[in-house]
């Protein structure tokens, strides 16, 4: 059986034409999973006979071997990985059970390591754990950089729309000028970026898979494109939308290992096949209500191709890196693809920072003036504002502003980002201005009053201008800090420089080049500001 035949023709024919590229990739990936079969037939690290799945299979030997550390993100939740409701230190989910099967097959005890979903790949590469799982999507860049298991679950990329739109919005081409959300850095995000070029949709990136659906229901989005597993979970939780029946693409969940761990990957593949054959995987998926008839077809294809390839395999070394030529994407090509997007994101970062700082400076001056000149009630209120803002994380403030208050005021994401960062920095700026106002010698203020200036004129003509000189240097430093803190607004769907870099890094499978490019762009923005701050400090510092 050839690699291409691993993938069912019927599946690809059911998918609309705009996603042919994705489907072609899916076919390649399945072939890759199959391609490893030649070496997986007698994996080096797996016991000669993979034991049958089932509870209480950990023999005494398992306890003597080091635990199998595997990483996942419990924040992603069920059915993948979630904290147990009764014993929160334990995890549950189908990925948890599959990890346990793998560990058991290797004669080891599984040990869970919590890691943010977007960092699973980088963490496995640096050796934080041996295997990463949590609904990780197979894709070219992943296989280029890592050792990737065979696919163990086939998912569909499905569109979720509001019920009222279900009859007229089926394909991405139907969403010209409309906002479609998904998780950043996923296959769906890549599809939305392509659809932006081809159909003029507006892609919206999220850091989690819960808020896209709540935003869909509330009207902030017109559709969500995500795995059918996530879509169906959210349908049960949130409701208020429908999932379009025709998928836009097919993808696969895989386990990811460090590139050097090909032997372990081969063992994992052998165990996964064994668990497909004995029905353990099916049982697990049924437990978590994600088993469907097409999963049986998918597993059959995986097993058939493995058997065929095992028979026809020749001298492919077990540890040879698995990198399909068609899937290899050069770093240069990726860089040229993403550089314009990075520069656009840099403009967003700069615009966002300038607007937020303008708000922070204006509000900070008012707060500082109120604290210096106001009555007891005004001062108490302003102190409360400053302490609440300084005493709570800016991430929490952004969440509350964007999601928490959405029933009261539905701010656009960019506006919420400007207001959120502006309100946060205003608290810090106000302390700078207050200190600067108090640093002006009282005798100067008395001199100004004796000269006949009103209190407002004293502030505007004497105290304020001199205080600004004290404040200018720390203000500029704060603006540089704000440039970097603006990266936090990606949690409310604003794709700024760091978020764009993270997306780039996820697709490239490495942070090296994206990180360097991102750093260069940040430095290009912040170094001139730091220089200006130093110059102003030298020129205006009080003698």
């Amino acid at each position: 059986m050839t690699a291409a035949s691993c993938h069912s023709g019927s599946t690809s024919s059911s998918v609309p034409s705009p996603t042919r590229r994705v489907i072609a990739w899916a076919a390649v990936m399945l072939a890759v999973g199959c391609g490893q079969a030649a070496s997986d037939a007698v994996p080096a690290a797996v016991p000669a006979a993979v034991p049958a799945a089932g509870p209480a299979r950990q023999g005494p030997a398992a306890k003597e071997r080091p635990p199998l550390r595997w990483g996942g993100d419990a924040e992603g939740g069920a059915p993948f990985v979630e904290a147990d409701a009764i014993t929160p230190t334990k995890q549950r989910g189908f990925d948890v059970e599959i990890a346990a099967m793998i560990a058991q097959g290797l004669g080891r005890v599984p040990e869970f390591v919590q890691v943010a979903w977007a960092s699973i790949e980088q963490s496995v590469a640096r050796g934080d754990f041996a295997i990463g799982m949590s609904g990780i999507e197979d894709r070219p860049a992943l296989r280029e950089r890592y050792a990737v298991s065979l696919p163990y679950y086939e998912f569909r990329e499905v569109l979720a729309v509001r019920t009222a739109d279900s009859a007229r919005l089926h394909r991405l081409a139907d969403f010209r000028g409309r906002r479609v959300g998904t998780l950043g850095g996923t296959m769906a995000w890549t599809m939305l970026l392509e659809a932006k070029t081809q159909h003029g949709i507006v892609p919206v990136s999220y850091d989690d898979d819960v808020h896209p659906y709540s935003d869909l229901v509330s009207g902030r989005l017109d559709a969500v494109l995500l795995d059918h597993v996530l879509a169906e979970r959210s349908l049960k939780r949130v409701g208020g939308f429908v999932i379009q029946p025709v998928p836009l693409a097919i993808g696969y969940y895989v386990a990811v290992l460090a590139a050097r761990d090909t032997a372990l990957r081969d063992s994992v593949n052998a165990i996964l096949r064994a668990r497909m054959r004995d029905g353990s995987l099916e049982a697990t998926f049924r437990t978590w209500s994600v088993w469907e008839p097409q999963q049986a077809q998918f597993q059959r294809r995986v097993l058939d191709s493995a058997d065929a390839l095992a028979r026809t395999a020749t001298a492919a070394p077990a540890t040879a890196p698995v990198t399909p030529r068609a899937a290899r994407v050069s770093a240069w090509a990726t860089m040229t693809t993403y550089l314009p997007a990075l520069l656009r994101a840099a403009v967003i970062t700069l615009l966002l920072s300038v607007l937020a700082m303008s708000l922070a400076v204006s509000l900070g001056m008012l707060v500082a003036s109120g604290r210096v000149y106001g009555g007891p009630v005004v001062r108490a209120a302003l102190i409360a504002y400053v302490e609440v803002i300084r005493g709570t994380p800016v991430l929490l403030q952004l969440f509350v502003l964007y999601y928490g208050l959405s029933d009261v005021v539905r701010l656009p994401a960019f506006a919420a980002a400007v207001i959120g960062l502006g309100l946060n920095y205003a608290a810090y700026e106000s302390e700078i201005y207050r200190s600067a106002l108090l640093a002006i010698p009282p005798l100067q203020l008395e001199a100004a009053r004796i000269l006949g200036l009103s209190e407002w004129q004293v502030l505007r003509l004497v105290r304020g201008p001199q205080a600004m000189r004290f404040a200018l240097s720390p203000m500029t430093n704060d603006f540089v800090a704000l440039l970097k803190d603006s990266s936090l607004v990606s949690v409310i769907t604003v794709v700024e420089l760091t978020k764009q870099t993270a997306i780039y890094a996820t697709n490239a499978g490495s942070w090296a080049i994206p990180g360097a490019l991102c750093a260069v762009v940040y430095l290009a923005m912040s170094l001139p500001l730091s220089h200006v701050a130093r110059r102003l400090e030298q020129r205006w510092s009080p003698t």
Binding site: E446, A447, R449, I450, G452, L453, S454, E455, P542
Partner: protein, 242 residues
């Protein structure tokens, strides 16, 4: 030296203080203090530290409240009790100028802008009128060449003359000075004495607080010695000072 003659001098004199009492907490600073400064008179107040000299200046400029007594500057009366709002002090602000010991020049403004600030923004003069007045004052006091300098670039003597020009910019009938010679060498001190005599000769009342006996002897029409909040002695300098 010729400065603009004072035109709003009142028959009551530049300053009249009767029965002034000032307390800080439970401590009495001034205890029934009386003082008159006539138009054209240069009065020097002396006394040991803590005697209440600076408190007199702060009361007269409405920076310090007083508990009882009367204070009248060129006919404008201040009442005991809490300080009034600045808006109620407009008449007083037009009648009294003050030169601080440390000069208290505005560091962010040039010499010229320091002198023009009050006439333009506090007293509604046009920029042209304020500029003409400031130029005249700076020229008369010998610091016009430093008009574009900032206070940190001035010597102590220059800064003091700028502070005098700033206080005189609105042409007040009463000028107060706190320790004017503290940062001056003998030559500058003598020059300052001439300038102050000229100001008095123009009809302005001057009240100067100092520890400098020689300076007081040289310039004062009258010396008032303050001790523990009351006048211990007063009279012509030749009689009061040894």
């Amino acid at each position: 030296m010729s400065l603009s003659p004072v035109t709003n001098g009142a028959t009551t004199g530049a300053l009249r203080i009767r029965g002034l009492h000032v307390e800080r907490g439970t401590q009495a600073i001034l205890r029934g203090f009386d003082l008159d400064v006539a138009a054209g008179e240069l009065c020097v107040v002396m006394g040991s530290s803590g005697a209440g000299k600076s408190t007199v200046l702060r009361v007269v400029t409405a920076l310090q409240p007083f508990s009882s007594g009367t204070v009248s500057v060129d006919g404008v009366a201040l009442r005991p009790g809490a300080l009034p709002k600045e808006s109620a002090l407009r008449a007083l602000r037009e009648r009294v100028g003050m030169v601080f010991q440390s000069h208290a020049l505005f560091e962010h403004l040039t010499v010229l802008d320091n002198v023009m600030l009050a006439p333009m923004h506090g007293h509604g003069q046009t920029r042209a009128a304020a500029l003409a007045r400031a130029t005249h004052l700076l020229e008369t006091l010998g610091v016009l060449p430093r008009a574009t300098a900032y206070p940190r670039e001035l010597s102590g003597g220059e800064a003091q003359r700028v502070a005098i020009a700033r206080a005189l910019a609105i042409n007040p009938p009463l000028l107060l000075m706190d320790e004017p010679t503290s940062a001056l060498d003998p030559a500058r001190r003598a020059a300052l004495g001439h300038s102050l005599r000229a100001l008095a000769a123009d009809g302005r009342g001057l009240l100067i607080v100092t520890h400098d006996v020689d300076f007081a002897r040289a310039v004062a029409d009258r010396v008032v010695v303050l001790s523990h909040g009351i006048i211990a002695e007063q009279g012509p300098a030749a009689e009061v000072l040894p």
